[in-house]
């Protein structure tokens, strides 16, 4: 499995942006079900600020290990058994993330447009298309992401700008009627979604440079953080207290668009974001799961694993969440988000500690497969 083309910082940034921002076009986990709506936009800012050093930690670890991928780094630092365990946990994590993305977009299609269609149809078709892209490797995904991230960004900006006539900024006041405590849950929910960018530790070997890895990561976090914050501001300004009760806030925003009383209900804008954004985010996750599995199984190529993993994601997507209520809760910090955060932070801590111990024992610092080139 040889990667012959390198991924640029912009392409990496686009891939990570789509991973983070795609969910925003569906439900807003930092908003839905929260006790009050006014100060939630601050959760977007605080969540981004907290996530930035964590993402920088991932990048630093990758760079220190010669831009190797997280499975190889784990095996090198933790030994074959410990490293393989971490590797398989990552495969499971990406598989669950893929199942989550599939269920996410399918539920959105059902709730927003076609309620009578069996969910498996959407899930199977999306998995089929995304697996087809994933099978062609990270190069194609990165190039597509570079184009589609722009499209998704424009559609999100339109979603926020076009309903301007119904924006009431007073709905954002008072910011903290009950003190700072209501901010904890939405912030803690925003952070795990940024941590999904850990897939950068699989993309690292294909990067042109370590500097590019850092640039792409930081920019994607900043841009997606800004978009998240702005989206929460607009949703709260338009829907006030009922914004926390909306299943698909971005879709609801596009339903409020009225241009001159003639052009109305431009749900198409959101549906385009769903289809392209989630489709590519899913392809990225499937690619990461297949590549990591190939490493762990000692296979020369990952391609044969993509479709079976896609099928498994469909199965898990249907079986894991019995209803939308459970599914929505799984995105919050008190449920799936907490598990994600703990897993990723624990892996980062263990790998950093192992690296530190190895260096202290004289094992050398640059044990990576290749050194930094810049």
């Amino acid at each position: 499995m040889t990667i012959t083309h390198k991924t640029t910082a912009r392409q990496l940034g686009s891939v990570l942006f789509l991973l983070r921002v795609a969910t925003m076009t569906l439900t807003l986990p930092s908003v839905i079900g929260m006790p009050s709506s006014q100060g939630l936009w601050l959760a977007g800012i605080v969540g981004t600020v907290i996530s930035l050093p964590l993402l920088a930690w991932m990048v630093t670890l990758s760079r220190a290990e010669g831009l190797d991928d997280v499975v190889r780094i784990s095996r090198r630092l933790l030994g074959p058994i410990g490293g393989s365990t971490v590797g398989w946990l990552f495969v499971l994590y990406w598989l669950i993330l893929a199942a989550f993305e599939l269920r996410y977009i399918s539920e959105a299609y059902l709730t927003g447009t076609m309620p009578e269609t069996p969910i498996v149809v959407f899930m199977a078709l999306t998995a089929l298309v995304s697996a087809g892209i994933a099978r062609r490797g990270i190069r194609l995904i990165a190039m597509m992401a570079e184009l589609i991230a722009f499209l998704v960004l424009i559609s999100l900006l339109l979603t926020m700008v076009l309903p301007l006539d119904v924006v009431r900024l007073r709905n954002l006041l008072p910011v903290f009627p009950e003190g700072l405590q209501p901010l904890i849950l939405p912030t803690a929910t925003a952070v795990p979604l940024f941590l999904d960018m850990v897939v950068l530790m699989m993309i690292a070997p294909s990067m042109t440079s370590g500097v590019g890895l850092m640039q792409g990561t930081v920019w994607s976090a900043l841009v997606s953080g800004a978009v998240l914050t702005l989206l929460i501001v607009v949703v709260t300004a338009v829907f006030g207290p009922i914004s926390t009760a909306l299943e698909l806030p971005a879709l609801s925003l596009t339903r409020m668009i009225s241009i001159g009383g003639a052009v109305e209900r431009l749900e198409l804008i959101t549906v385009v974001s769903w289809t392209f954004g989630i489709g590519l985010a899913l392809a990225t996750v499937l690619w990461a799961a297949a590549t990591a599995s190939a490493h762990l199984l000692g296979l020369r190529c990952f391609e044969p694993l993509v479709y079976p993993l896609g099928g498994l994601a469909v199965f898990l997507g249907i079986r894991m969440w019995p209803d939308v209520g459970n599914f929505d809760k799984s995105t919050t910090a008190i449920s799936g988000g907490l598990v994600t955060s703990l897993f990723i932070l624990a892996v980062l801590a263990v790998l950093t500690a192992a690296r530190w111990l190895r260096r202290r024992a004289g094992g050398g610092g640059d044990s990576g497969r290749r050194g930094e080139t810049e």
Binding site: T111, G112, T113, M114, P115, E116, T117, P118, V121, L125, L128, V166, R170, N171, L173, P174, P177, V238, F239, G240, P241, I242, S252, R255, M256, S258, G261, E264, R265
Partner: protein, 431 residues
């Protein structure tokens, strides 16, 4: 070989699955709903089966107005005398049940994205409306920007039978009337389902809805002969506002009070206010002493004034307006009479203040904070709000708001001086 087989299977699957969807709807199978109304039930309609489940739950009557595409086409075929819409009712315990009951009599599937009007009969509105609005938020076909109206002294069913001159479909006519009445006269309090629900969920504010009433046409004569005339028997008028406390209708604002409401919340786009002419201008004919001032721009805002101990809460309302001299009965000379402008501005300020105060007094009388004075206290002083929240309606009712109006007359139209009648009765300059 395997890849080819996989590709062929994938293509076959894609083509077979992508040819249509489970939710496909052909246009000729759809009935386009343009308005819906909810009333208390007067009993099941004649095509409905009697209750078989013995349920004693109170029923509601839901009426939908569906466009007849064949009757609204343009060109020569538009000469048809066929009514361009069909209004049909069904009863049920929930609004969705009513709508689904309609499927037993409608040959077409009701299609909701074109619905612009949600009407509620007065009697039903008095009992609370949240129970029927949920569907408008929850369903993916309905619009949140649907206008919400309450029928003054009548039923939604009646309004949905009315017709309008100049427009074939009542939905389009209503749209034009709302646009005219709010944009040219500001005597309606425009509200959408989204506005209504956001207000209901907010602290310290009660919702308003538009007010509509049926106007019967009673011609004292009969038009006969070859001239084709459509039989418009009743039309509808939009003016004023329905005032809710929480989700229950508690009263009405008339057109002038509705404009007063719009002054306070800053929603007056344009209006005509008639004031008495200054004394110096009515020397010749005191009976023609009125001047119409056309508002061209306005702003309205308010903020609470709370004493340091938080016990006394007042409200400071600030309104500003710009107007043109638009319609003059007596003789005026705006070119040389410098006092005229100031004098008219004072009169306009008084007129605006009077309308705003009338709206506030009516809301206080109804004990419904439709302006959101309480919400403003909550926004600016959440701690004070927490203390006064439970007694807010009493505080609101006893409140003496300070209204400060700044009016500016900026233009006088295409002339600077009116026609001056000669004392001998001869005509002066032509108008």
């Amino acid at each position: 070989m395997t890849r080819k087989v996989v590709a062929i299977v994938a293509l076959v699957l894609l083509f077979s699955l992508s040819t249509g969807c489970w939710n496909r709807r052909e246009i000729e199978t759809l009935g386009f709903v343009v308005a819906v109304g909810v009333d208390t039930s007067l009993g099941a309609t004649h095509w409905e089966s009697p209750d078989v489940d013995g349920d004693s739950m109170p029923r509601m009557q839901c009426t939908v107005q569906i466009v007849k595409p064949s009757a609204v086409v343009s060109g020569e075929r538009s000469q048809t005398l066929e009514r361009p819409f069909w209004a049909v009712s069904a009863t049920g315990r929930t609004i969705l049940e009513c709508i689904r009951n309609l499927s037993e009599v409608s040959p077409r599937i009701l299609y909701w994205p074109h619905n612009r009007w949600f009407l509620i009969g007065e009697e039903y509105a008095k009992g609370g409306v949240t129970r029927v609005l949920d569907l408008m938020e929850r369903d993916q076909e309905t619009r949140r920007r649907t206008a919400i109206l309450v029928v003054m002294g009548g039923r939604a069913w009646d309004v949905l039978q009315t017709e309008f001159e100049l427009e074939r479909t009542p939905s389009e006519a209503g749209r034009g009337i709302v646009s005219n009445a709010s944009g040219r006269f500001s005597t309606v309090a425009v509200a959408t389902v989204n506005d209504f629900l956001v207000t209901l969920a907010s602290e310290g504010i009660d919702p308003v809805a538009m007010c509509v009433e049926v106007i019967p046409y009673t011609f004292p004569y009969e038009i006969t002969g070859d001239v084709v005339r459509e039989g418009v028997k009743a039309t509808a008028r939009l003016s004023g506002a329905a005032v809710f406390r929480s989700d229950k209708l508690v009263g009405w604002l008339d057109g002038r009070e509705a404009r007063g409401y719009n002054w306070v919340v800053g929603k007056v786009k344009s209006a005509v206010l008639v004031v008495d002419a200054p004394q110096s201008s009515v020397e010749l004919d005191p009976s023609a002493s009125l001047i119409g001032l056309e508002i061209i721009r306005s702003k309205g805002a308010f903020r609470p004034r709370i004493t340091d101990d938080g016990r006394r809460i007042g409200m400071e309302v600030k309104i500003s307006a710009e107007a043109n001299i638009a319609d003059v009965q007596p003789y005026i000379d705006s070119y040389s009479d410098a006092e005229l402008w100031t004098s008219l501005e004072q009169r306009l300020e008084e007129a605006i203040k009077s309308e705003a105060m009338a709206a506030i007094r009516k809301a206080q009388e109804l004990r419904a904070d439709i302006f959101g004075f309480g919400r403003e206290v909550y926004r600016t002083n959440p701690r004070v709000w927490k203390q006064v929240k439970d007694q807010w309606y009493e505080i609101f009712a006893d409140m003496e708001p300070e209204i400060e109006v700044t009016a500016k007359i900026v233009r006088s139209g295409l002339k600077v001086r009116s026609v001056k009648l000669e004392e001998m009765g001869g005509a002066g300059e032509g108008r």
